[in-house]
């Protein structure tokens, strides 16, 4: 084989390696972005679980008729922070907490004493803010998952993904029960 042919083969080989490396780095970069976004949700969820004991303790004395709802919230919160809970159990508990806290907010409207209590109003405001931030973190996470899943599914990244066993990731979704509209009538039945 003459020198120009060898040189051409080397150049093509190098170019191919560069393209492969670029594609690989893109897929890895997107996967890392998903992990990073997931950790942001984690931080926000932890903040919310830290707020719950304070909120429950503050409203308990006023909301004697809502004892079962408050117990459920406390139980879900404990599951979410328990070191023995699996990841699945933890995220199921976090998801169910969305709905339970929503019910609590509606129930609190029936207690005028709570509306006049500055400390509770402040807690509620912080909780709203935290839930809004969780929602934002969740949306950011889902955007990174979309980007990553597109890479795993679409050519030419799909070739790299299959060679390295990169799998699709699941979106962070709200549990079905929480997506249903709250029946206010049932709360006060």
């Amino acid at each position: 084989m003459d020198v120009p042919t060898v040189a051409l083969i080397v150049v093509i080989g190098l170019a191919g390696a560069l393209v492969w490396a670029s594609l690989y780095n893109t897929v890895v970069g997107r996967r890392n972005a998903v992990d990073n976004a997931f950790s942001s949700i984690d931080v926000m969820l932890k903040r919310r679980t830290d707020l719950i004991p304070n909120l429950v303790a503050s409203v308990k004395q006023y909301m004697r008729h809502e004892a079962s709802l408050l117990e459920r919230i406390t139980s879900l919160r404990n599951t979410a922070v328990s070191p023995v809970s699996t990841s699945e159990q933890r995220f199921q508990a976090e998801g169910l907490l969305f709905g339970a806290l929503g019910h609590l907010r509606i129930a609190m409207d029936a207690y005028p004493n709570l509306r006049a209590n500055d400390h509770i109003q402040q807690l509620q405001a912080v909780l709203y803010e935290t839930e809004e931030q969780i929602s934002a973190a969740r949306r950011a996470f889902n955007a990174t998952v979309l980007d990553y899943n597109n890479a795993v599914d679409m050519f030419p990244y799909k070739v790299i993904a299959n060679m390295n066993n990169f799998q699709r990731r699941a979106y962070f979704e709200i549990p079905e029960a929480d997506r249903q509209n709250v029946d206010v009538g049932k709360l006060f039945a």
Binding site: A125, E132, Q133, S135, R139, A140
Partner: protein
Amino acid sequence: MLRPFHAILPELRRELADLERLRAALYQKVIHGWLKVAGSVVIGGALTAMCLWLKWGVVVPFILISAVWTIASAWTSDIVAPRATYVVEFKRRFIAPIAQSIGDGLRYAPNRMVFPKLYAASAIFQPSPDRYGGEDRLEGVIGKTYVQMSELHTEYKTTSKDSKGRKRTTWHTIFKGLFIHADFHKNFHGHTLVRPDFAERTFGILGRAIQKRSPGGNRLVQLEDPEFEREFVVNATDQIEARYILTPNMMRRMLEVRRKFNAPVTFSFIHSSLFIAVPLDRNLFEPRFGTSLFDEQYLRGYYEQINSCVGIVEALGLNVRIWGKE
């Protein structure tokens, strides 16, 4: 917020009647001013022609100077000044009372504009202006939201030398229109910039690819609302913070504001403040000299202008304060 037009109008009837009398008198003065100008031109021209025909050339300069002097004084005192007086009185007696009835009483300053430091703080425009002008500033608290807004015209200059080496200065408009600063209802630390999306609307997917690769410190944020994505391009220092600000509800509201103004609106969210730039080719709150103030439809037009400006607070839900910021 702003009371209905039919509730405000009866309270202003007396002022409007006085203003209408003033307008009519000033309008007559303007008519006389134009007659003086026309008369000066005709008489000056006729006298000049006659003198030239009679070979009295030496008199012509005096005729021309007299004619020019009459035209100039008629122009300033009988045409320009009455208009200026009317504009001042219209804004003082009609616009200002309406502004004072909004919220805790908005302060209206017809000759003032948004503070230059707020314009700079918005981080919307480049370069820094060499000339900063504006008028019709409204400032105060609406509900729980502090606002400051005015018309602005900012320009930068470039200098060049012509073929004969003479220095030439050219002025270029950076922004001309309505500029609004409002206290946002959530706390945040970074910067999220929402600009009109020309690239995606013009070039589709290719446009979006171009945006992703655009230089600049802020990263592109892609959001879930397809209509919002078609209208706007979003760059932010923090992806999560951008979504914390731009909730699905907020995106819908921003689209509504854009539709209402029918102009390429820019929103800048920076350090818990909101800045909005609405480019406009018309002058707000400027009365038409020849239109009677008994024309309710005409007056309603100015009411709607004020309503559009201050209505942004409600349109974006800025008075909903449930996220820990008072």
